[in-house]
Structures are given as C-alpha cells and as structure tokens.
C-alpha cells in the first residue's frame, strides 16, 4: 500500500482556489489516487479519483503529473462550507486489495 504525505493544515479565504498536494513516491502501476472530504462528526465522503493526467467533476479537479508520484486536489472558489479535512488515498483493486487506510489528512480552514 503506497504511503501518502500531505500538509497537516491549510488556510484560505472565501472565493480563492485551493490546491492541496499529496506525495506518493512509491505508487504502484495499478494504483489509483482517491480523495475524500470529512466534516466534523461525519463520515468521509468520496470526492474524486484519478489514474493519470486530469480529472474534473462538479466538486473538484485532480491533477496527476506523468510520473504519478504526487497529485493535487484543486477546489475552485472555496466557500466557508469547504472547511473540512481532506484525505488522499492510493491503492488498487487487484490482488485482493481490501484495506482502506486513511492518513492524517489536510485540515482546510476557509475564512470569510
């Protein structure tokens, strides 16, 4: 299971774009990169997933460089309600992979 490293915390203001980078230097060929969002007292919520290049959905964009050793979650024009912890996970579905391991995540605080 590839280990991930993310900043412990980030601060932003409403309306700004926020980029959270995750390092995963030992990512394997079959691994996907997945991001979750967690609000206090709630379970994490799946945001976005990608394998390479760029993925965009209604919530965020995920940028993955060619070497796939890092990834960046981009949140456009954040609001106060985007204050949450964001987790980066790396793993695959082959070979009976079954554990879903969360690290410390990045605490994003959005201020007015």
């Amino acid at each position: 299971l590839a280990k991930t490293t993310q900043p412990i915390s980030m601060d932003s203001y409403e309306g700004q774009e926020v980029n959270i980078t995750c390092s995963h230097n030992n990512i394997a060929t079959n691994d996907y990169i997945t991001w979750y969002q967690q609000f206090p007292s709630q379970g994490p919520r799946f945001i976005i997933q990608g394998y390479k290049t760029k993925v965009t959905n209604e919530v965020a964009s995920l940028f993955i460089p060619a070497d796939r050793k890092s990834s960046t979650l981009s949140l456009p024009r954040v609001s106060l309600s985007d204050t949450a912890v964001y987790y980066c996970l790396v793993g695959d579905r082959s070979s009976g992979y079954s554990t879903l391991t969360f690290g410390k995540g990045t605490m994003l605080l959005v201020s007015p």
């Binding site: 206090p40 709630q42 919520r45 009976g96 079954s98 879903l100 969360f102």
Partner: protein
Amino acid sequence: EADIYQTPRYLVIGTGKKITLECSQTMGHDKMYWYQQDPGMELHLIHYSYGVNSTEKGDLSSESTVSRIRTEHFPLTLESARPSHTSQYLCASIPAGTVLEAFFGQGTRLTVV
C-alpha cells in the same frame, strides 16, 4: 447516493455493559469496514470484511468483535464497555469493481461512563 445506515447515532452507556453497534447497507456491497475516530484525530481501521463469513482485524487493536452473517449487516460488539471505548465509530462499504470508492455511514458516537 448510497444507503448505509448506522444505529444508534448516539449512545451513552455504563461501564461493563455489552453493546452492539449496527451497520447496514442495501447496496449488496461485499467489502465492509469499521473505523474508530476520536475528535480531530485520524480514522483507525479496526475491522473489515470481504464478504459473508469473512472478518479480519484492522490496524488498530480493538477489544471489539464483528460478524458478517449476511451481506447487508456488519455489526460491531463490545462485550464489556469501558471509558476508553468512548469514541466515534464509522462504518463503510465499497462496491465491487471499484477502487477505494467507499460509502460511509453517519457514525455512532459512543460515550461510556
């Protein structure tokens, strides 16, 4: 939107009591997980299951036990609750054929007094 339910949402119980936290999902997911999380802290995997009659211990040592008799249910039991068990317990499931796309329940906030 996935349907995964945890009951109760909140529970205050005395030391030494036996308790079972319920987790149910209606999506037919084979893989299910239990996590323990203290406020502001990491999620710790305590149990997981590949499917019916399959259970494994997770990364965090836990005095709880689980069972998986039916695909839909993955209950967690504490035989004798202690104040150190006070925490939030989160249940999750993953659809077959996906990668790390888990659905989480709302959690059970347990307080042992």
